[in-house]
Amino acid sequence: MKSEYLKKDKLLILEITEEIDHHTTEKIRRRADYEIERFMPRKTIFDFNSVTFMDSAGIGMLIGRYKMAKMFGGTVEIKNVNPNIKRILEMCGVLKLVPIVNEV
């Protein structure tokens, strides 16, 4: 995972660079929580540009990060989601908590 913090906007961007399953979520979760605690961002965006696969482990991971960010007064969004992953997010109702970034 790559991370970038834009201080001016209090925006944390976390780019996930692996497939998301039960095996990989542990590492993603640890790193994301570390960055959220460190910066207390107003908004955290997960960039899914290089994520080619996600199963329901990703749902638990995203909801967990939503709760974590909320404790520090922030929100979570996702961007660059492929259609197959979007179907899972929709089916599980996650997009109400963690919406997809509005891109103009």
Partner: protein, 148 residues
């Protein structure tokens, strides 16, 4: 015209880094049916869900063997994922959306719901103390029969 048949069987340890191995192996086997990208994604997700279930629920903290058997009949792919783990007490409850016995591990309880919606059929057989078998079926809808 001949009715196409093929089968394969995989056995591996319930280590979490085998989740990716299992779904990629099944996808590679399914490729001979010429599935769409979406159908392939459905299959990979369903395999990942059931293998993960065997690892974290079936075998919990111990290690055991997970077996995957795939059979192709015509344009249908059957996938059975089995473990010899703790088993499921009440299958109807386990299948309900959001039901999970491991919320502390950030599980969503959506595994079976996802399998049911992505595959054409799902059947669960389980005996407490003996293990669990999840049988799934996916029909690969080819637009036209170009060869054969």
């Amino acid at each position: 015209m001949e009715f196409y048949e093929n089968e394969m069987k995989l056995e591996f340890l319930s280590k979490s880094n085998n989740e990716a191995f299992a779904r990629i192996a099944v996808a590679a086997f399914a490729a001979q049916l010429d599935p769409t990208i979406e159908e392939l994604a459905d299959i990979k997700t369903a395999v990942s869900e059931s293998v993960t279930n065997s690892i974290i629920h079936g075998y919990e903290d111990c290690e055991g063997i997970i077996t995957i058997e795939c059979k192709i009949f015509g344009n249908t792919l059957n996938i059975d994922v089995s473990d010899s783990g703790i088993g499921i007490e009440n299958i109807d409850i386990a299948k309900e959306p959001l039901y999970t016995t491991k919320p502390n591990l950030e599980r969503s309880g959506m595994g079976f719901t996802i399998i049911e919606s992505f595959m054409d059929e799902m059947k669960i057989e389980s005996i407490v103390g003996l293990g669990t078998k999840v049988s799934m079926k996916k029909m690969i809808k080819r637009e036209e029969v170009a060869h054969v």
